[in-house]
Symmetry: C2
Subunit: 217 residues, 2 copies
DNA sequence: TTGATAATGTACTAACCAGTACGTGTCAAT
DNA sequence: ATTGACACGTACTGGTTAGTACATTATCAA
């Protein structure tokens, strides 16, 4: 007797298979960390099998690295398209801050992956040629704004672009990365719209106040 | 024939055994995370055996929670002893910021544990009655400073103490928690003394500039 | 059509790792 | 000195998990 269940014929779609794996893996690694994530769990949630993970990515760490690289590739692509050259320096800065703030708010997965990578001393990132060459354009952008501000006499002169980027980044990142412990200790839901707006305003105010103030001795 | 090797007699020292385990475990969890740390590895580095870990802490998670609680207990004890009441508001604030800055700088283990706990959605912290009751005195301290500053007319009036604490904390924490990725991307060694001083100055300047500036509309 | 290569599925393995069974040693109070 | 509770060590187990062996199907170029 012939098989009653017709086995549906397999479709080869390497592109999609890879992407599917990467997407699921991003969720899993971001949720459980590198050692916490389970390859089997990833495989199960995929359209395909564990075999394919090793076929395309070689190892768990290989998959993790691919996830990390994809995450950084995404932010690099987002970084370019801000038109700030024709805004006055303070406005340009505020726009940039708002964009950083929203980016972290909208990409908790990315934030978590970066946190995880820091737990691992950024060792995978260091080994990645792709990420290693990230020469973040955001710093150039900040540098230009600072330069214009100084020439126009509205900014203090002793500010380093990378330092300033860190000041901005730190707040935006922390709000997302430490959402849970901070929220628990202070009984605040850091994802509420009220706080979102207030915090966005605060970091913009703080940074602009800083860059426009006179240096303390 | 009698044993040639005299087995040295065992000493029971439960206090020390517990502490020993806790100290090693703190290192291990902070280095590898909750899922990355290995109970066997912890046991080996201990004077005692794996058996004792389960004897005193019940499970790997139990041990992790004990580590976390000890870490938070430590900061709570450090928080109290700042004498700020007789300083002018701006100076009081700068002192407080310096203290937060140094605390995170000197306690990377604590910072890493908090990062790890955030990866886990602060779930252990929530379950801990001890940590759950952390009603951080630092916020009260900030509140008092803000109050005095407002009364003296030097601070803007629309600042929330917890928000301000977050602004300060975020920078101090990020500098340590994201040391590796940030350092790798921007080719900066965030532990260098030069940067240490500059950053300490910067966060103090930024926060004081913010609290003393006029609100933007 | 064919055959080479790329893509995929199934079933397995070996190592690892949290947790335990079971027994021994310590010490203080009686 | 005995006893009982606490402290501790050794050796093991059973489930988990990263990774693989092997067979099969799809695809496409010649």
């Amino acid at each position: 007797m012939a098989k009653l269940v017709e086995r549906e014929s397999r479709k080869n779609d390497p592109q999609k298979t890879k992407e599917d794996i990467l997407n699921i893996a991003t969720e899993e690694f971001s949720a459980f960390g590198l050692s916490g994530a389970r390859v089997d769990a990833i495989a199960e949630k995929t359209r395909t099998s564990k075999r394919m993970i090793y076929y395309y990515f070689g190892s768990k760490e290989g998959l993790y690295l691919a996830v990390l690289e994809k995450a950084y590739r995404k932010i690099r692509s987002l970084e370019a398209d801000l038109e700030l050259a024709d805004l006055p320096p303070v406005e340009a800065l505020r726009t940039l801050i708002a964009s950083t703030f929203d980016h972290d708010e909208k990409n908790p997965d990315f934030v978590r992956l970066v946190s995880i990578e820091n737990i691992h001393h950024a060792s995978h990132m260091k080994r990645s040629s792709e990420i290693g060459e990230l020469n973040l354009s955001i710093v150039r952008t900040i540098d230009e704004i600072l330069d214009r501000g100084r020439r126009e006499g509205v900014f203090r002169r002793d500010i380093d672009a990378i330092d300033l980027h860190m000041l901005i980044s730190a707040f935006c990142f922390f709000r997302v990365s430490n959402r849970y412990t901070f929220g628990t200790i202070f009984h605040r839901e850091l994802s509420e719209p009220d706080l979102y707006n207030r915090h966005k305003q605060m970091i913009a105010d703080a940074v602009t106040a800083y860059v426009t103030c006179q240096p303390k001795l």
